[in-house]
Amino acid sequence: MRWGAVAPPVAVVTIVALASLTGCASGEAPTAQRAAERFYSAVHAGQGEAACGLLTPRAAEDLPLGGESCAEAVLRARLPAADRPRPQAAPTQVWGDEAQVRLSGDTVFLHRFSRGWLVRAAGCTPRGEQPYRCEVGS
């Protein structure tokens, strides 16, 4: 079988892929963290409209119950007092367009849209192997 001629650029492409992937997440972590902090600041300030503007469209759509608005619902949600990075906690994780930010009293999940990071889920508590249970988003 004559299989000798195989494209050498494969190795180059592989190395480039490795390099780009290992470094992809680092620059976005502070931006995602600030987005999570802005969300909590808005909630604690009673600014429901502003807080809803920082939610993903799906989370903002799913949040209201009955005839209430998103702004009313996000202030009603039982969100913990959390607005700053948790000391000694695991650092913010960014993988692709998804992020997990650990604040002083909460774990927040975010998704990156063209207009920036938006909160996919907040008020989240771990459940072992199961997905986190979240007060906002699911």
Partner: protein
């Protein structure tokens, strides 16, 4: 130009086919990825963003590593194992690395032999194993790329499903990594097995991968 195309048609055909298939994969993969994003409440991404994403990288790398493993195994194992009747095999009794005379190295090299075949020491050893070394290196790099891109892709999916991400070591021990790896390996191994066995009894007239049509089934190591 015409002569260049004629003399290199086999390589050029597979290069063009490879690029077309890779381009097609990137377009179909981008559409599939965006459909999943919409289902999960995320945002679609551009083609450029997709081809630099971990989703595309892991899907490419997992196939590359298995293809290079397939050829690496075939190159190395056919040194030592034979299959009677197969044009892919050496004749029974010829197993092994063969003598310097048979391999035309050192003092047995011919005037037009590659320079490193005439050399001694490390250069000759390297050249004598260069095909396996390069294929093995590309296999390892591709598998490593699969594990790194796979970690990034798996963690992105974990976060989208509100679950904690894992470390690289955690991913390498995960069901996702081994499912991707073994599903590719099994198909490559089956393809090689089919080629070795079917080529004993079946023919493809004019193909160097087949015995000539009239050669007996028992004849080994004869390519058309």
């Amino acid at each position: 130009m015409r002569r260049f195309l004629r003399d290199n048609g086999l390589s050029l055909f597979f290069l063009v086919a490879f690029l077309l298939a890779l381009g097609g994969q990137s377009i179909a993969g981008n559409a599939d990825y965006n459909a999943r994003q919409l289902t999960e409440g995320g945002a679609p991404i551009s083609w450029v963003s997709y081809v630099t994403s971990s989703d595309f990288a892991v899907n490419v790398a997992e196939n590359w590593q298995s293809e290079y493993l397939q050829f690496l195994l075939y190159i190395m194992i056919t040194v030592w194992l034979v299959q009677r009747g197969s044009p892919e095999s050496k004749k029974p009794g010829e197993q092994g690395r063969e003598s310097d005379e048979e391999q035309k190295v050192g003092p047995h090299a011919e005037p037009d032999s590659p320079a490193w075949a005439k050399a001694t020491g490390l250069r000759r050893t390297l050249f004598a194993n260069s095909l396996g070394l390069v294929m093995g290196t590309i296999f390892v790099l591709s598998w490593l790329a699969q594990s790194v891109a796979g970690t990034a892709n798996y963690n992105s999916e974990q976060l989208a499903q509100l679950q904690d991400p894992v470390t690289w070591l955690g991913y390498v021990g995960s069901a996702d990594f081994w499912n991707r790896t073994l599903q590719n390996w099994q198909s490559e191994l089956l393809a090689v097995l089919s080629m070795v066995v079917l080529s004993i009894y079946l023919r493809q007239r004019g193909s160097p991968e087949s015995k000539p049509v009239g050669v007996p089934h028992q004849a080994t190591g004869i390519e058309g």
